[in-house]
Amino acid sequence: MEKTTLTDPRNASSTLPSNRRDWILRGFRDGFPICMGYFAVSFALGIEAKRVGLTAFQSFLMSTGMVASAGEFAALMLIASRAGVFEMISTCLVVNLRYFLMSCSLSQKLSPATKTIHRFGIAYCITDEIFGLSSAVPGWLEPFYTYAITLVSVAGWSGGTVLGVLVGNILPAAAVNALSVSLYGMFLAIIIPPAKHDPFIGGLVAVSMAVSFLFALLPLTRGISSGFKVILLTVLIAGAAAVIRPVDEA
């Protein structure tokens, strides 16, 4: 997704905002499509939250506090399986590890003049899409641009989650059934485009799915909790990939 925002014609044709106010307005505008996308996905997340037993308020706290699609999906899985503290922390670490890398990357986008308080603020805003827009800005990043995008996006994200909990059960079963795959669709949208451009990543995705499938079938591994399965397979397969084909540029 970062790739598409980098080549977004809007970014190339329009002039860069020159002051904070214009950056904020630009952030609201750029955040709107993200808000729409988040709403549909988080609605399904809300339905899942309800199924796991969360109230609307708890799901609001979760979505506003975490702002992470795969991360919240994993969180619900952990709550449902009554996971222990160690499993919660380690699963959250692994599932959200990509934000670590994005945080590393964004740390280079902040001007030395940017106050430290903004490092705390920007940290909250790191999602695949907001990171993509923020890192596509030429030169130093104006933190308020990212805040504006985040405000609009999180409104859609948290609002969708809460509505999913509240009216998810009013929807006919067929619609709920249909929405239950939207998160997976979103995951596919994150992993498949890079797989198309890089056959090694394509192979990596295929191997990951195959091993995950085997783990679900084999009697010895099917008892492993889904959380630990994600940690185990990620560390093993991503570790192997890093040995087989190290990345040149970060």
Partner: protein, 101 residues
């Protein structure tokens, strides 16, 4: 075991926030280790692939709907790649196949 949902949420929210905060706060230079950099680069693909399959197939009432959603999701993501479009296509597939199954 953690039975209190608020405590669980707090632990997980703090963990996720720390992951995002610590590099921004302490890392002012690029990561040196080539292995660690490569590992981090591959993490999202493996994690999301493992979480998607086989779970997408068993997420709906009918195995057939799940398989159809997977295939449509793969094809649409390959052609278009837009988050919203792919997610909606998968949902529509499950809804439409559900009418016949």
């Amino acid at each position: 075991m953690t039975d209190n949902i608020y405590i669980s949420l707090l632990i997980m929210c703090l963990t996720v926030y720390m992951i995002r905060l610590l590099p921004l706060l302490f890392l002012r230079k690029p990561i040196r280790s080539r292995f660690f950099r490569s590992f981090l680069y591959y993490v999202p693909y493996v994690t999301l692939a493992v979480m998607t399959f086989p779970a997408i197939v068993t997420a709906t009432d009918h195995l057939g709907s799940g398989i159809a959603a997977l295939i449509v999701g793969l094809v649409v993501a390959w052609i278009n790649g837009d988050l919203f479009v792919v997610a909606i296509s998968c949902c529509a597939t499950v809804f439409l196949t559900g009418l016949f199954l």
